[in-house]
Subunit: 436 residues, 2 copies
């Protein structure tokens, strides 16, 4: 007996999922329903005749399918549909990062209570099977840190700026190529990456954190001059999201920041729409996963692999997709489990070396005053960089700082902000040096 | 009830496995036996008092443990012990690449027949959970190609040569640092990598091939001048193992070669003892996995994660480790399965651009004669490189060739070998340009 699968949402990913199901997995998985608003305009001839096309969600939710695939996106009405599907005892596969980051714990509890599975590989890093690898493949290790470059729009823009483009031109190109959405603010500000790192944190560190508590800084402050200085430091600039956890009583340290990443770090080795996720284990050291972070086909592989995982854990024959009660994530007790623990507090008080770029109306004594403010916070200066030939009334120069906490750095920067030589707000970037 | 685990072999990996079991997984997994030859000299105080130390394999095999962890290495007697453990209905976890590459199909069939599991994540790429990610995380995709830089000794030597060391010095350093074994010939010739690519091929492409049928070329022919030419071509040199599969009726194309790899390729981005494995999927594109390829702790994570996977698939409660019959790999019907199909033939007739370095006693007309031999085989020359200031009686020069099959190239090289201007056998390397 095949598992009956309903698809909610027939956009790019939904169409790729349908195609993958029909072309390669028809023996195990039967597509029974496609739900979409205005479904008539979505209908395609290559879907088998028996599939029910509907714009009425009730028709799907009352059909007692085995697995509901949610690809609508956003919180509303996706949350309601997923909740109702799980309450009916169905399993759910979703690629909805906001939904899982915000409501993963609640939905996971619901899936356990009603005996369904909830899986969400497609919600993070598209086609890279990173959640599965962390859950199962690294289950024996204690993971202490997870980091990633997981927003393709930001990576595309910063790669283009590396080649000399301005921010505005790079964003325009990203829009034209379909990398950036009409409103790219979640990509640029880091809110998109915050949702993804919250899911990675829940899976790798087994700590549930609210994505809205993760502080983000936008990449919009980055200028071509920063990429030039970065190159001088054998680095590039990427939007990095990361989370670190120590004792259970301590808050999770998590943040999203444009950051200098050393050319030696795997975080520097992505361009275009590629994603990279690295995890640091107490025993296994650093492991990195690279691949396509977006795109219908890559995400569809993640979604359908989740479907196969659910069918696979049913009864070992593939016959009975209504799975053993309480299985939850679809994996056994050996595996790492996301969204099981009570929510953790989030702190952004990480410690790192930093890059600070000042833009000033030049006059004698500026470096001395800035250096004094850093010294007051016990922050050591590593280097001062200044390219020749810049205008004196709008002079950019860079200081790199030894490892210090963001809190102390913020205090120093608050002091420094009071000086009247600034032409522009200073740009502060942590530096990631870690080599794989 | 905990799963009872016996450890065969208490070397570096065995000790790390024991420590990980005791420190982190004592609630699920109980170490009951440690078998080693001359066991008395191996005994350590940090293992719980109840563990039986023995040099008598019969004592372990008759103890009816749930899972036997084989870390003895080599074919004999490991094959016999694993066979007998599986025949007794126990599950087996092994990190033994030669055993799995050579006898994976036979042992997998045995595990199915007797209701145990057989898992071997630690046999390839140490701490990188690449088999699990391929089996489960990419299960929905059709994978067409798997490639890797999976021999740490070769990578170490070639990285050192990049920095200017000679082969002999780099090998001596590798030995001193413990990267290279007393007899490193399996590492240098590619036999070690051939075993690993055979396992990756079985898992990713679901094609069983005999590792002894994979042709290898040694890295011993590489000289510092090749790394200098490689850099000029924006490449480096790595020992690359790969396998590609098309139709089931066609042979698998597989080989191990020192190769030029473009700086854009993930295969170039490993140094020291790191490993990288990339897979190419029809839907998901290229995904790459990086991490520690060796070392006791990293491999122990793979081994213990396999143990947890077996316990996890038992009955969902973690209680009964004697698992459901026929589960085989420990995963459900959705997952990709290694070593299920009848053996496939292996061909090395791949097609690639090539690098050929000649070392000649210089005189007019050499390039013309070489070019003519290539033209006869319909092979196009892309570029000719020759560094100035080389001795005329021992002149190295390089030709890069457009994509051609190895068979045609071999024919041309056989022709060219007949010329009397060679001072040294030409060095032929395929070029991998693929970007992630």
């Amino acid at each position: 007996m095949k598992a009956r699968v309903a698809l909610l949402g027939f956009g790019t990913v939904g169409q790729s999922v349908a195609r993958l199901l029909i072309e390669r997995h028809a023996e195990t998985l039967e597509l029974t329903h496609v739900y979409n608003r205005d479904v008539a305009r979505k209908q395609v001839p290559w879907v088998p005749a028996g599939v029910i096309w509907t714009g009425a969600i009730e028709e799907v939710l009352s059909a007692r399918v085995d697995i509901v695939v949610e690809l609508i996106g956003g919180l509303d009405p996706a949350r309601e549909y997923v909740t109702r599907a799980l309450e009916s005892g169905a399993s759910v596969v979703t690629a909805n990062k906001q939904l899982i980051a915000r409501h993963g714990a609640e939905l996971m509890a619901l899936s356990r209570r009603h005996g369904g599975h909830l899986r969400f590989e497609g919600s993070v890093a598209g086609g890279i099977p990173v959640l599965r690898a962390i859950e199962d493949g690294l289950s024996a290790d204690r993971l202490v840190r997870v980091a990633g470059v997981v927003n393709g729009t930001s990576t595309y823009i910063l790669s283009r700026m590396e080649e000399g483009a301005t921010f505005v031109d790079a964003l325009a190109d990203a829009r034209e190529l379909g990398f950036a959405e009409a409103d790219p603010s979640d990509d640029l500000t880091g809110r998109d990456a915050a949702a993804k790192i919250a899911i990675l944190c829940a899976t790798a560190l087994e700590r549930t954190i609210c994505p809205t508590h993760i502080t983000c800084r936008s990449i919009e402050s980055i200028e071509p001059v920063d990429l030039r200085y970065a190159r001088e430091l054998d680095c590039t600039i990427r939007q990095v999201a990361w989370a670190e956890a120590g004792e259970a009583s301590e808050p999770v340290v998590a943040a999203v920041r444009p950051a200098l990443v050393s050319r030696q770090s795997p975080l520097s080795r992505v361009a275009g729409s590629q994603n990279v996720v690295t995890v640091q284990g107490e025993f296994g050291g650093e492991t990195a996963f690279f691949g396509k972070g977006a795109g219908g086909d890559a995400t569809a592989v993640a979604v359908v692999s989740d479907l196969l995982a659910i069918v696979g854990t049913s009864d070992g024959t593939g016959a009975g997709p209504r799975v053993r009660p309480g299985a939850g994530t679809g994996v056994g007790p050996g595996a790492r489990r996301a969204f099981r623990r009570a929510p953790s507090r989030v702190s952004a008080d990480y410690s790192a070396p930093h890059y600070v770029r000042f833009t000033v109306a030049d006059r004698p004594g500026i470096i001395a005053r800035v250096a004094e403010a850093f010294a007051k916070q016990d922050i050591s200066i590593n280097a001062v960089l200044q390219h020749p030939g810049m205008p004196a009334d709008r002079l950019p120069f860079v200081m790199t700082l030894e490892r210090c906490s963001e809190t102390r750095l913020d205090a120093a920067m608050t002091d420094i902000a009071r000086f009247d030589f600034h032409v522009q707000t200073p740009v502060v970037l942590p530096i990631f040096e870690g080599a794989l």
